[in-house]
Amino acid sequence: MMDQAASTVTTASTPSPENAVAPGAAAQGVARVEAEAVNKKETRALYQKRVKIFPKRARGTFRRVKWVVMALTLGVYYFVPWLRWDRGPAAPDQAVLIDIPARRFYFFFIEIWPQEVYYLTGLLILAALALFVATSLFGRVWCGYTCPQTVWTDLFLVVERLIEGDRGARIRLDKAAWSGRKIVRRTLKHAIWIAIAILTGGAWVFYFADAPTLLLDLVTFQAPAIAYMAVGGLASTTYVLGGLAREQVCIYMCPWPRIQAAMTDIESLIVTYRGYRGEPRRPHRKAESWEGRGDCIDCNACVAVCPMGIDIRDGSQLECINCGLCIDACDEIMDKVGRPRGLIAYDTFANVERRSMGQSARFSLMRIRPLIYAGLIVVVGSIMLFGLTTRSVLDLNVLRDRNPLFVTLSDGTIRNGYTVKIINKQHETRSFQLDVEGLPGYRINVVGQESGGGLLLTAKADRLASYRVFVSAPRKSLEDESTPIGFVLTDTLDGAQAAYDAVFRGPGS
């Protein structure tokens, strides 16, 4: 059976040189491309050997959108670590920084401590919901335009096309025997790919340390080993996934196609071949009548440009990343043969059915599913915004000693030990006074400080300060085994307060 499969593949994938004019090609300069969809259902076989895809360059609206999105996403990725943001001398001035040793995350005006990692959770929830809403409205546009796999594969294809030429030239080079020319081109291509991969990995590490310093360290080989390992690891995955594996990642490795398939419905805009208009397909000669036939002239332009190697005319399929390059290719052909554009277009299942029955199409953004997703985005976003605007810059945490619960002193007073943690999120050192409420006749002293002379607890800028505090009270002021008390921390300068409810344990009556 495997032999059978292999032989099928061989016949199916025999590519002819570009622009070979097939019999019956249309005369208006439209040539039929001898392109066979690599990922056609019929040609998929058990333990199939990978069939190479040589996507032809597309021109048109969606290709332009893809260029813009590529420039934006790569631009953001490469330049964000270099943005500066002044936070005073106590904190780094990098706008976006994940400071792992100091356990801080800086994002412009936002600074997140480890215990506030729920902001990150919220951000991920928002990202997921945004993906849901986009998918339910426009299908897998994430896959087609913004996914890093797509962006870098596109970038690597640009390099490949610059060096080896477009589809036909690449196919010829691939089939050609090894020669000096082939070796030079292949070496050059892979060298540039590796350079891009290293720059990709290189940009990643700048998010984790001061970018200018790290760059200097990296090029002078002074950077820590982990930085080089991160660069190396990301460079190799970028090279392998973006350069070599390409569509294999989307088809066999990525879980998103399966998950997103559950989010589209018959009202989602997906790349659609309007079969009712295109069929029956047949090559078309100039001046031949369009009566009794479809608009599809079977030129295979849509197949040749597809980076996933599919034939969109087979209908909606898992391999399709909704990038719209086949739309561009088909529109160009339709212009040439003088038929209306949009034989392949972003359309919904429902509309295709309506149109094929002669009804008018309709598309609405206000459907229940995207509205629910959008509503959830508003709710989560509001919660996060509320959390962010009411975030305190001073926190007090008190841990009571549990062993021993309390200590009886020789004069009969009862003493409890506490660990008091002051979280100072301001970028300047602050001093505080610590008081206890609800405990008549208490005394307080801090380990390492002389008791009596007005306790002053300091917390350094943007740091947590931890103190051992002993509170003692006469036994007669304790009625129960457990007395509720409150710790109140007051900033000696601006009077800002933080409180913590605790208990004071005693022997009971």
């Binding site: 050997k49 990978r50 000693d401 062993n403 021993p404 020789s410 003493r415 390492g448």
Partner: protein, 289 residues
């Protein structure tokens, strides 16, 4: 594989030939390149057997070519950590106890080291939180049998209580009644007097008689008024802290049979630096003087 090929009608995909109660398994195999990564991992594992320790033998195991051992690695890391600590340990050893307490860096190191040394060596008797137990003093409070300054504490830890060492803490609470120094009635009177010292309920007449007995037999160590003497480990018996118990029965038992609690010599087992760390740690528990 099954003799007859079967193709699923709905998907058009061949099945594996496996069938459970009429349910057949579709054959959707991996792409070829992924299949090769599977074979490559098998080859890798064979190489791993040769290079790394892998197979158990009867009384040992195959050690592999590069002599890797996670146990040796841990030992090495511990050694590294020790030598990194040596810098501080040497500083601690050279510094006076009060200097350790006033240097934040040394204090932090001493507290961390003291905490773990306490857990390993001391917590068995004194408790994890040093709260003690009857017969084993609470180290959190401000009552000290042998003194609560840093030097006192270090001395007690190093040479113990009632050991054979020359520097040991030593004191003697005699068994007054068993030795027939006091009669049972006199012992009862003294117990009543001791109760009165702490301001507790007592029999006034008996306490009055007891005060004379106390002055004659007890005050030498416990001092007038029962305030105690750390030179001989005589506790303050006028305060609220009791090593064996504060009820009259326990006090009577102490007077009758005597007490002789012991603590081992730690200088033989712990390094001078560790003893200093322990002293600093115990001092900071809340009762240090």
């Amino acid at each position: 594989m099954a003799a007859e090929k079967h193709t699923d009608d709905y998907t058009g995909i061949e099945t594996t030939g496996h069938e459970w109660d009429g349910i057949r398994e579709l054959n959707n195999p991996l792409p070829r390149w992924w299949l090769w990564t599977f074979y490559a991992s098998i080859v890798w594992s064979i190489g791993y057997w040769i290079v790394m320790p892998a197979w158990p033998l009867v009384s040992s195991y195959t050690t592999g070519m590069i002599d890797y051992s996670s146990r040796a690695l841990v030992a090495e890391r511990i050694e590294e950590a020790r030598s990194a600590q040596d810098v501080y340990a040497a500083k601690i050893e050279g510094a006076a106890l009060s200097e350790i307490q006033s240097d934040p860096e040394l204090l932090e190191f001493a507290m961390a080291g003291g905490r773990s040394a306490f857990a390993v060596n001391c917590s068995q008797c004194h408790g994890r939180g040093a709260a003690g137990a009857p017969g084993y003093p609470n180290l959190n409070d401000d009552a000290w049998l042998w003194g609560g300054t840093l030097d006192d504490i270090a001395q007690t830890i190093a040479y113990g209580v009632r050991t054979e060492h020359d520097e040991t803490r030593v004191g003697n609470m005699p068994a007054f009644v068993s030795d027939e120094t006091l009669t049972r009635d006199q012992a009862n009177d003294v117990a009543e007097y001791v109760l009165s010292l702490g301001g507790r309920e007592h029999e006034a007449a008996a306490a009055g008689r007891g005060s004379e007995v106390f002055a004659e037999h007890c005050a030498a160590c416990h001092r007038a008024g029962g305030v105690g003497n750390t030179e001989v480990g005589a506790p303050n018996i006028a305060d609220g802290i009791w090593l064996y118990g504060d009820d009259k029965e326990t006090i009577l038992e102490t007077v009758t049979y005597g007490r002789a609690g012991v603590m081992p010599i730690w200088a033989d087992r712990l390094s001078p630096a560790t003893i200093k760390q322990l002293a600093v740690y115990v001092h900071a528990l809340g009762g240090g003087q």
